[in-house]
Symmetry: C2
Subunit: 136 residues, 2 copies
């Protein structure tokens, strides 16, 4: 295996779960288990979406009209267990587009609050000033 554990906390990626799912569905219809695995592989295991998060996202997004579900066989032979597939709607594509534009903005904004130009992998936190405030 490439590495051992997810490195991105759900707190920071939280706002992008829906967008990630919509990206995958914008390419072809898919279903829970497959999407979950695709996110894992696309992120090189850096982010693993929880089952409950994923399925509750489906429910929410279908309610919002961004995706539609249908039940189908794994292949066209009609064999195997049926799955619930999801496909993106026009509203979903448009919402996805908005989120992409918002991402560009967000990136710029957040960047202002990050340490400038992290050299390689060493992040150095200088004490800067111990001035104001009570000496305890």
């Amino acid at each position: 295996m490439a590495n051992d554990s997810p490195q991105i906390s759900s707190d920071v990626i939280r706002g992008y779960n829906d967008t990630m799912i919509l990206y995958i569905l914008s390419q072809r219809p898919s279903y829970g288990y497959e999407i979950s695995k695709q996110i894992r592989t696309m992120t090189d295991d850096k982010y693993v979406i929880k089952e409950t998060t994923l399925y509750s996202a489906f429910t929410r997004m279908e309610k919002n009209g961004y995706i539609e579900s249908y039940v189908a066989e794994p292949d066209e032979t009609g064999s195997g267990k049926k799955r619930t597939y999801y496909k993106i709607t026009e509203a979903g594509r448009s919402y996805y587009g908005e989120k992409c534009r918002e991402w560009v903005l967000t990136k710029e904004v957040v960047e202002h609050f990050m340490q400038p130009a992290l050299p390689e992998k060493d992040v150095i936190c200088l004490p800067m000033q111990e001035d104001a405030g009570p000496g305890d």
Copy 2:
């Protein structure tokens, strides 16, 4: 007011509130109202943190040991209303450093799910394929 630029939803910035506050406090101790205004100006009004979000972040982060509070006068003359100032702790600096490193990762990861190279401001969502799925 400065502009009516598009705002960033709290959903997508949610994971970065603490980091933004810690960035500001990593430069000098500050207090609620000032931090709020600083976030506004730094983001050119693209993101305005809610008061309740801000003050509950203070409580949480102080509990977690990332910041420390003290009450002081606005200036050293001893005049004016007292404010609750916050200063970052060593644990806070280290946590902030982690978050910066996580941001670099997150940026890369999220980027995979965004439309490649958005030209200017036009985002085009091609239908791609209408193939699979029932025709209804």
